[in-house]
């Protein structure tokens, strides 16, 4: 089949019904995975930097293991191992009907935590040791020191990197292709199937990802410039 580059079938209705739901899912997946990933990632980073040997070891294994295998493999593992009863328990029939979508949310949260934790570790280490000691000297507990002194600064110092990683995460959500979840890319591919134009639909898909990711990375760059001035 030749490439016609005729996109007249791509009406606003088609976009609204097939592609927008995919985009919404991809964004939901990105934000949930970012929120949970940063939370778990921060805990893992604190474990890695703690003086308790067992915590250190756990954090190291967690990060190194997830970083040595491809995301696709992790997606397949979680999809295979999470029993259907789990989806039923959290979302009933809706959960059972959207197993791939739910499984991807769990996978990405846990997988991205490994990457976020390395960023947070660098962020925590960027706060000088003297500040922590000053906190202790004032009678603060470890938790207070982290919560009031170290983590706010670590977050701010690392914000551009965290956001850049999130843009990568958004691109990586396209890999849910492997388990058939209905994401942004799947939206385009579905339209391609319906109108028998599978190859043509890849170009608007690429253009959309490009515009979104390029635009967001420009914003991150501006933010970075701003933060640098403050410091």
């Amino acid at each position: 089949m030749a490439l016609t580059l005729d996109y007249s079938f791509l009406t606003p209705d088609v976009v609204r019904n097939n592609i927008v739901p995919g985009l919404i899912y991809s964004l939901e997946l990105t934000f949930v995975a970012m929120a949970i990933g940063v939370f778990i990632g921060t805990l893992v980073a604190l474990m890695r930097l703690s003086s308790v040997k067992a915590f250190q070891r756990f954090a190291t294994v967690y990060v190194d293991a997830l970083r040595s295998i491809p995301l696709l493999m992790v997606i397949l593992w979680f999809y295979l191992l999470i029993p259907p009863g789990f989806y039923a328990a959290i979302a009933g029939q809706f959960g059972l009907d959207h197993r791939a979508e739910f499984s991807a949310v769990i996978t990405f949260s846990i997988f991205e935590a490994a990457y976020y934790s390395e960023i947070m570790r660098a962020g925590i280490q960027s706060v000088s040791r003297g500040q922590v000691n000053a906190g202790y000297a004032m009678g603060m507990t470890y938790a207070q020191c982290m919560k009031l002194i170290v983590l706010p600064q670590a977050f701010r110092n690392m914000l551009p990197v965290l956001l850049t990683q999130t843009i990568v995460l958004f691109q990586d959500t396209s890999l849910v292709y492997a388990i058939g979840a209905y994401d942004f890319l799947k939206g385009f591919l579905t339209v391609g199937q319906i109108y028998n134009r599978p190859a043509e639909m890849l170009l608007p898909a690429a253009a959309s990802y490009f515009i979104l990711c390029f635009g967001l990375s420009m914003l991150v760059r501006r933010l970075q410039a701003k933060i640098q001035i403050i410091r």
């Binding site: 040595s68 493999m73 397949l76 691109q171 292709y177 170009l203």
Partner: protein, 250 residues
């Protein structure tokens, strides 16, 4: 706990089974004309490493060029380098590979007979070249600007200044990040399964389906990914050690 022994036995047996009939080979290696799952797995590992290796070579060559271009005084060259980087960095690798496979051969009919392997390597290589270009540029920019001026003031041409003054140091600065880039390329080569490359993810899903022993197949592939990542890590550490600037303690 007692379930483990039969499960392990079944796993071992399925790996030694023929992929075409029910024969189980005691050596786990079939003779001519047949293949056990273990052999198929090893082939798939080979494909993963092959795609990653060719793509890495492409990425290094082009990435070096792009990185240098982005630091050149020539505005047009720098702009081209920027555009290249943004283009390949902001589209997901899966979408890029699908375009290489489904769209490009239709646009350029001369490419219709190009095998999928080549398309996968080129696609993955160009994707990675943008990241390597980024690091090469950063490496060159960490050098004091005086080095460039000193080279030019001594009468070296711009090309000679890059060749003899800037790049020997910049590339050593970049080397550690290339270690992680080589690991990334092995992981990213998994996406090539989407364009019919029979690498390890392809094996895991296909063999899992055929034998209904998903866990066994996934485990085997995961272990091989670990081994690959570990080996690359050691190799890269060795290269890094040998290419250190003489006299630098780093």
């Amino acid at each position: 706990m007692s379930d483990w022994i039969p499960a392990l036995k079944a796993s071992a047996e399925v790996m030694c089974k023929s992929t075409t009939d029910e024969t189980v080979y005691s050596t786990c290696f079939a003779g001519k004309g047949d293949l056990t799952y273990l052999q198929w797995l090893l082939h798939a590992w080979g494909w993963t490493l092959l795609v990653a290796l060719i793509a890495l070579v492409i990425a290094l060559v082009i990435g070096l060029g792009i990185g240098v271009m982005r630091t050149l005084p020539n505005k047009a060259a720098a702009l081209f380098g920027e555009a290249w980087t943004e283009l390949f960095r902001n589209v997901p690798i899966l979408v890029q590979l699908l375009i290489w496979h489904d769209v490009i051969p239709q646009m350029i009919p001369a490419l219709k007979s190009v095998p999928d392997l080549v398309l996968a390597c080129v696609g993955l290589g160009l994707f990675t070249s943008a990241r390597i270009g980024q690091q090469v540029k950063a490496g060159i920019n960490t050098l004091p600007r005086g080095q460039r001026y000193a080279g030019l003031a001594m009468g070296l041409t711009l090309a000679q200044t890059y060749r003899f003054v800037l790049l020997p140091v910049a590339l050593r600065v970049v080397l550690p990040t290339l270690t992680s880039e080589s690991m990334n390329i092995i992981k990213n080569s998994s996406v090539a399964y989407a364009i019919n490359i029979t690498e390890m993810i392809f094996f895991a899903t296909q063999a899992g389906e055929e034998t209904s022993m998903h866990i066994t197949m996934y485990l085997a592939v995961t272990v091989l990914y670990f081994i690959s990542a570990f080996t690359i890590n050691r190799l890269a550490a060795g290269v890094e050690k040998r290419s250190r600037l003489p006299g630098s303690a780093h």
